[in-house]
């Protein structure tokens, strides 16, 4: 073995070594420690010189060169080489290394196929489905290798147990697929429930995006109110198009400018140009027509303002009419639904009103002035305005009863009802007279409140007066403005037989048809919404409630469909409704309730059994309701069926995205065949589609980032466009290529350097680039998944809550995300004078400055002033480099050397001593005093004179990242240090300054790690020229610069083929 190695060596390093190498120097000064066994610090120069290539262990060679250059070796006290010998040895090593690097520059190197890391898997699924399913903890765990990243192929293992997890995850994801009348999508809830909810949420989204509701009933907020405003303005512009200098403009163009549909604009225009409409449409049209034409004073802004006024009238009219919402005389909080039908527009000649002041809702009410007087308003206005008419009403049988609020439930029924006149003040009695009284319009009066009374109940009948054609809108309240300190009352009084009423009602129905305040009813009716005919539509009746429980959804969207939606959206809405119908036995439930209501015995027949013949045989009334249901049901079933082939095609598109390349014809066929077989065995389209999705997601083409050999016997090949798209997207986004990358790959743009750079730039602006901060920066700098860090003893540090922990993590991620996506120079990684805080974190750090946000982290400038800002002051970093109960200058120093400067020291000797755990138990010695022992011990000193000085400057941060001014035992903190080269470092600021002097080295570390991360391998000697170039840009480079230069490098764009001969024969045998 050894001989073979030497022989090999003779051919390569050995030959050169023997001829030109500093053999004698090594033999005289180094072999003593570095020639036997593994060698001190793992360096055996005899073995090293026998390697087949200087590249094989080039990092060791670099260590040797650096140790010689910096006079660290041989150790003090041993005999030293002359300067000339030293120089010769160094320049030989550097020369050989350089020559190799130059001749092999850009070698793509050995890259083992990479399985998706758990992070990449979760992100890929997120981008494929649009869902964040938290899968990173459900699939096989990661290991770290190469340059310290999980994306290193050799540490990505697969075993049956991990494969089971992938299969489970794939099936779980497939269960989120929505397989209905529309194309395949994914929804946040899985399974059958998810299917139903997905459909309802699609419906709601369409209504919300396209429709409007001025009064939206229980719990709802009005929305879409600008629809009419825009339509008014569009119609105004269209009317005056010539005067506005755009004679050829179409309604379509104007609508598009205002972002309303053409259909809606056309409808509105035609209404505005319809003559002879009834009230209140006539009023709206009149107001629109009265808008002046364009002029200097009627510019666009003025026109819009005037349209707003009309729109306000349109919105407030129904509320006023029916006493709803803000305008309600009825008062806010009235949640009765707004419907226009015989029931809601019913009038009575005489209506009995009861107004209770101090009843329900009394919490907010001021007590009535007991022992004083209370004023009551009876309001009567015309619902069908006729400018000449005065509302005329007769008030009859007025009585009043008093009790206390506390006793309202039982007291009121028992209280004596007094004739109103017996409690009227003298003044009011004088006006109202003795018995029943008439009023022209509204009237008010005062009553005397008995001592101790806090509640009264007024009852009165309002009767239509002399003018039978009037329709009166009556409200009773205790405030002049119609508002109320009690539950107000509202009602319509009129003669149902009168022509006046007939005209009014027709007008209101016409208005509800042409210019409705609500473009649709919500798909999921609220408790107080009505049930459709023939069911009892009143709130809280058993029939109404049963309908809403069993049938659940009501489609009442004629206006939005006919007058607003474009054809494509109509199609989507129908698909969504069809999915609602298919999600459960909608129609069966509906039919069952109809049968019950109408006393019909269907003999257990469901909607599927009720074909046309069966429906024909039904009595007229049930037939009227059941026939349209059957039509809807048939449509829904047909739609489900019709969508099926599309789903298979959707799956193929899904596979192409998941597999990050176009499918081959063979693959398409095999996926289709898989579906067909699954459909045959499962007899269920949904199951078969879900199985197909799962099959796509456990395929090697998804789980592994395949870059297959081309079968050509080349050693290096250029990557294809699709392979480049994958490399780019997994490098910068940890996920699948997006549509733009796919387009670019299909167009063959990804072998063009300029376009590659442009893609990098684009991708780094995308929010997905944040994943670089979690995946790359997190792993490089050691705060990866810090939100799950368990290394803090929370018994000792109870203030280190989960909230603080996750905020610290977010601080680190947000910081790097800012540097990356805002294109900041990489110098800011150390120097930033800003950080990201929320209130809990600011409190934890003891930051006095005001931080606005309670949860989301916000950028805070001038952070150095309070000890934050930049990598070295990140709480997460300071915490992970501490022990559970104390800080560790050694860990922190080692972290700076290793992770920031990229110049790690060898591991400590196995039998190195240790220092006590708890800073409280140092036995009087400070950490510094303890560690001073390092310097006295020669074995330790070599490394610890390099490590410790870089850790001590951070001592003013405790083990959970907070500033402190003394140790917990009260001892003062000295955070100054002296490096091996006698540089004085004072505190964290000093350390930042010290590293600033080594910015090129810091950038080099970043470049090396970034390259390793991008390629999924360790860096090798042939990468040296690229890394040197990247490093030479120092702190001024931006992350995007470095990333782009890596992306266009040879090693990123090429692949080394290995052992290209296939070994199919043996593997075939396994089938």
């Amino acid at each position: 073995m050894k001989i073979a190695g030497l022989l090999l060596g003779l051919l390569t390093v050995g030959v050169v070594w023997a001829e030109t190498g500093p053999t004698e120097t090594f033999r005289s000064y180094c072999y003593q420690c570095h020639s036997k066994g593994p060698g001190m610090a793992g360096v055996n120069l005899v073995q090293l010189t026998a390697e087949s290539s200087i590249a094989a262990k080039y990092k060791q060679w670099e260590k040797v060169a650096a140790a010689l250059e910096q006079n660290r070796m041989p150790p003090k006290g041993l005999s030293q080489p002359s300067d000339a010998e030293r120089l010769h040895a160094v320049s030989w090593i550097r020369g050989e290394l350089g020559a190799y690097a130059k001749s092999h520059e850009g070698d793509p190197g050995r890259v083992t196929v990479r399985r998706l890391t758990s992070g990449e898997y979760a992100y890929s699924i997120q981008d494929l489905t649009g869902l964040d399913l938290n899968l990173e903890h459900e699939i096989a765990g990661d290991e770290v290798g190469g340059e310290g990243f999980t994306n290193y192929g050799d540490v990505q293992f697969m075993q049956d147990a991990s494969m089971e997890r992938y299969l489970e995850a794939a099936k779980k994801i497939a269960n989120y697929a929505v397989i209905g009348a529309g194309p395949l999508t994914f929804f946040t809830d899985p399974g059958k429930t998810g299917f139903e909810l997905a459909a309802v949420s699609r419906i709601s989204a369409i209504y919300r995006d396209n429709g409007f509701r001025t009064v939206s009933g229980e719990g709802g907020l009005p929305y879409g109110l600008d629809h009419y405003r825009k339509a008014l303005y569009v119609a105004w512009q269209y009317k005056h198009r010539a005067a506005l200098g755009q004679p050829a403009v179409t309604l379509r163009e104007l609508a598009a400018r205002e972002k309303i549909t053409t259909r809606f604009a056309q409808h509105f225009w035609s209404v505005m140009n319809t003559a002879g409409l009834g009230y209140p449409s006539s009023e709206i049209v009149a107001r629109w027509r009265a808008l002046p034409g364009p002029s200097r004073t009627m510019d666009a802004k003025a026109a819009r303002a005037q349209c707003d006024e009309i729109q306000k009238y349109m919105v407030t009219w129904p509320s006023w009419m029916f006493g709803r919402g803000d305008a309600a005389v009825g008062g806010a909080g009235d949640e009765r639904p707004l419907v226009f039908n015989d029931e809601s527009l019913k009038v009575e000649e005489r209506h009995h009103f009861t107004f209770v002041r101090g009843g329900r809702g009394v919490g907010k009410a001021k007590p009535i002035p007991a022992g004083g007087t209370a004023r009551i308003y009876l309001n009567a206005v015309l619902a069908n305005p006729d400018r000449a008419a005065i509302p005329n009403v007769m008030w009859r049988n007025a009585t009043i009863a008093f009790t206390t609020i506390a006793d309202r439930k039982t007291g009121l029924a028992k209280a004596a009802r007094l004739p109103l006149r017996s409690v009227l003040t003298e003044e009011s009695a004088g006006r109202l007279g003795d018995g029943d009284f008439a009023s022209n319009g509204s009237i008010a009066f005062d009553v005397r409140v008995p001592e101790g009374a806090t509640l009264y109940s007024l009852q009165v009948d309002a009767e239509i007066g002399k003018d039978r054609a009037q329709v009166l809108r009556i409200t009773i309240s205790d405030r002049e403005d119609g508002g109320s300190e009690g539950i107000p009352v509202w009602g319509l009084v009129g003669d149902p037989q009168s022509k006046g009423y007939g005209t009014w009602k027709a007008g209101v129905l016409q208005y509800a048809h042409l210019l409705p305040p609500n473009s649709h009813g919500e798909a999921t009716p609220a408790d107080k919404d009505p049930a459709p005919e023939p069911f009892d539509s009143r709130f809280n009746t058993p029939e109404h409630d049963e309908f809403l429980q069993r049938v659940k959804y009501v489609r009442d969207d004629r206006f939005v469909v006919e007058k607003i939606l474009d054809d494509a959206t109509r199609g989507k809405l129908d698909q969504a409704w069809n999915d609602v119908y298919a999600a459960f036995e909608y129609h069966d439930a509906y039919v069952r309730l109809l049968a019950k209501k109408l006393g019909l015995d269907l003999k257990g027949k469901g909607i599927a059994d009720l074909d046309l013949t069966a429906i024909e045989a039904l009595p007229a009334e049930p037939r009227k309701y059941i026939l349209p249901l059957r039509v809807d049901w048939e449509k829904a079933m047909a739609a489900q069926l019709a969508a099926r082939p599309g789903h298979v095609e959707d799956c193929l598109r899904f596979a192409s995205r998941a597999w990050r390349r176009p499918l081959t014809e063979g693959e398409r066929q095999s996926l289709r065949a898989f579906y067909a077989a699954a459909l045959k065995s499962e007899r269920d389209h949904g199951k078969a589609i879900r199985a197909l999705l799962a099959r796509i997601l456990v395929a090697p083409a998804f789980l592994y980032r395949m870059e297959p050999a081309t079968l050509q016997r080349t050693t290096v090949r250029q990557l294809s466009n699709w392979e480049m798209a994958s490399r780019l997207s997994y490098f910068l986004w940890s996920s699948i290529p997006d549509e733009e990358l796919r387009r670019a790959a299909a167009a063959g743009e990804l072998n063009d350097e300029t376009r590659l750079r442009a893609q990098v730039k684009r991708m780094l602006l995308d929010v997905k680039a944040r994943r670089l901060s979690t995946e790359f920066f997190g792993q490089w700098l050691g705060f990866y998944r810090f939100d799950q860090f368990r290394g803090v003893d929370t018994t000792r540090y109870p203030e280190f809550t989960d909230e603080v922990k996750s905020s610290m993590y977010e601080e680190a991620v947000s910081f790097f995300d800012y540097v990356v996506r805002k294109d900041r120079p990489v110098r800011e990684i150390l120097h930033a004078d800003y950080t990201f805080l929320n209130q809990p974190l600011a409190k934890h750090y003891g930051v006095k400055k005001e931080v606005a946000s309670k949860d989301e982290l916000v950028k805070v400038d001038g952070a150095n002033e309070f000890g934050r800002g930049g990598l070295l002051r990140l709480g997460a970093v300071l915490t992970v480099t501490s022990a559970p109960l104390r800080t560790s200058p050694v860990k922190r120093g080692d972290w700076v050397l290793r992770r920031v400067l990229g110049t790690p020291v060898p591991p400590p000797p196995a039998d190195a001593g240790s220092i006590p755990a708890d800073e409280k138990s140092f036995g009087g010695l400070s950490v510094r005093e303890k560690l001073a022992m390092h310097k006295r011990n020669a074995t330790c000193a070599g490394c610890h004179t390099r490590i410790d000085p870089l850790g001590f400057p951070l001592e003013k941060y405790d083990s959970v990242g907070r500033l402190r001014d003394k140790y917990s035992d009260g001892k003062p903190i000295d955070d100054s240090s002296e490096t091996a080269d006698k540089t004085q470092i004072a505190g964290v600021d000093g350390l930042v300054k010290y590293l600033d002097g080594r910015q090129e080295q810091v950038t080099r570390t970043l470049a090396q790690k970034l390259l390793g991360y991008a390629l999924g391998r360790t860096v090798q000697l042939s990468d040296e020229p690229l890394i040197a170039r990247l490093a030479s840009s120092g702190g001024d480079a931006t992350f995007a610069d470095l990333a782009a230069r890596i992306v266009v490098s040879k090693q990123f764009r090429n692949r080394q083929e290995q052992d290209a001969r296939p070994q199919t024969a043996t593997l075939r045998g396994t089938r």
Binding site: P38, T150, A910, L1067
Partner: protein, 448 residues
């Protein structure tokens, strides 16, 4: 019997997959171990591992049988002293000479292989439990259980992957066996019976075919990875197929057919003692139901920072604070308590196995149990010997209640790999050579 059905297929496949190439000497082995024919319960093997060694002064044993005295680490074993064998002086040369004080000294536990010190090459050696798993694991539904408490640590230690410190079971020299730390998932592996998995089977078939189509285009290291994938798929398929067939073992049947414990909660237990107890219960359950006969459990990872505050009077993390205690008396006492805690777990396992009757004899009688650490002196990363305890009666082959001392028998006679050969023998897998040894440990078995 299943084994005859599986054997050739499996080996054939392995050869193709290139996995068996690492273990060519396994090819000709007779597949023994199905020692159920005579109606006797089969042997079960379990290994409990704890990291970071012990304080040597606290690790000792004197005397034998009921008179045996034990050092403080073994406090929990006192009532069980007649059930254990105290092994003194075993070591592994490869671990001893490795320059990596932690990761390089992991494989003395169960393989005796050398850890690759090249950061770009992940390689160590197949461990004895996984050799068993591969050879006799096919006799049960689950070939072996590989359990742990702590997740794999995602960082490098001195440039080397922490995979070495997070795994004591390696399925091949380049692949650790997947370690399960979620009790619920481990439990599910035991109860999932493969029935009703028709669709899974067809999904796996499809991807297997796809992978075969890929083969010609895959080369080098990529092939190793694709083979891992293929093997995983095949293993699941076999389990599905096996489970849907009627299980018929002649002569002997497990004493339990349905779990007698509740399914653990989905989440990772937050309290470590509860976590360990659950994992041990799962090992016992698996043995009792004869779902597997091979189990390993890492109580902690190497370099573990497990916070032992759950043990009364202990504060701080295992590795940095307690193991490297600077010999401060207070912390050293805490370190001892962590060791004692580890052996309480072992004692719990023994007691549970002893309490289970398998037709006139206990499950413990048919067990072979190993508990130990890869390091001896934890503070100094000592690997000159290993603290190991053996227990179980191995079907009568292991005479317990004694000390077997190899320390002064010469290095060649105190190899840990000899122990592994001996243990594998008992489990029915006889190898000529394993790791750095080609001979059995002397003076171990009653019948030898």
């Amino acid at each position: 019997m299943k084994i005859t059905r599986q054997g050739p297929n499996r080996r054939h496949f392995l050869r193709g997959a290139g996995v068996a190439l690492a273990l060519p000497w396994l090819e000709s082995l007779p597949l023994k171990g199905a020692a159920t024919a005579g109606g006797k319960p089969p042997l079960r093997f379990a290994c409990l591992y704890f990291s970071n060694g012990v304080e040597p002064e606290h690790w000792w044993a004197k005397g034998r049988g009921a008179e045996m005295e034990l050092g403080p680490v073994l406090h929990a074993m006192k009532p069980l002293r007649e059930d254990i064998v105290f092994l003194r002086g075993l070591y592994n040369q490869q671990a001893l000479v490795s320059t990596s004080p932690h990761l390089g000294r992991m494989p003395n536990m169960l393989s005796g292989a050398t850890v690759s010190l090249d950061p770009s090459v992940i390689r160590v050696g197949t461990t004895m439990d996984q050799v068993l798993s591969r050879q006799i694991g096919g006799q049960t539904e689950v070939p072996s259980l590989v359990l742990g408490i702590e997740p794999n640590e995602m960082r490098l230690e001195d440039g080397l992957s922490m995979v070495y410190g997070s795994s004591i079971s390696w399925a091949s020299p380049t692949k650790p066996a997947t370690k399960e730390i979620y009790p619920a998932r481990a439990f599910d592996r035991l109860v999932g019976d493969g029935k009703g998995r028709r669709l899974d089977r067809s999904i796996l078939d499809a991807v297997l075919k796809e992978s075969h189509d890929l083969e010609p285009k895959i080369s080098g290291n990529d092939r190793v990875k694709l083979d891992e994938y293929l093997e995983s798929v095949r293993d699941i398929e076999k389990r599905i197929d096996g489970a849907s067939r009627e299980q018929r073992l002649e002569g002997w049947r497990p004493s339990l057919t349905k779990p007698n414990m509740e399914r653990p909660a989905d989440q990772l237990p937050q309290v470590i003692p509860e976590h360990m107890k659950l994992m041990l219960d799962i090992v016992v359950l698996a043995f009792q139901m004869d779902k597997t006969r091979i189990a390993t459990l890492m109580l902690n990872n190497d370099l573990s920072q497990m916070n032992f505050k759950f043990v009364d009077g202990v504060q701080g993390a295992l590795h940095l604070d307690l193991t490297h205690n600077g010999h401060a008396p207070a912390t050293e006492a805490m370190y001892l308590k962590t060791n004692q805690f580890h052996f309480q777990q072992f004692a719990y396992l023994i007691q549970r196995l002893k309490a289970i009757d398998e037709g006139g004899q206990s499950l413990f009688d048919s067990s072979l149990l190993l508990c130990g650490s890869n390091l001896f002196d934890g503070d100094k990363h000592g690997a000159d010997q290993m603290p190991l305890l053996l227990s179980g009666r191995a079907g009568g082959a292991l005479k317990t209640g004694r000390i077997v001392d190899y320390l002064d028998k010469g290095d060649d006679n105190r190899r840990a790999c000899s122990l592994y050969l001996s243990l594998m023998d008992r489990m029915g897998v006889k190898l000529d050579r394993f790791g750095d040894s080609d001979k059995r440990l002397e003076n171990l078995w009653a019948d030898a």
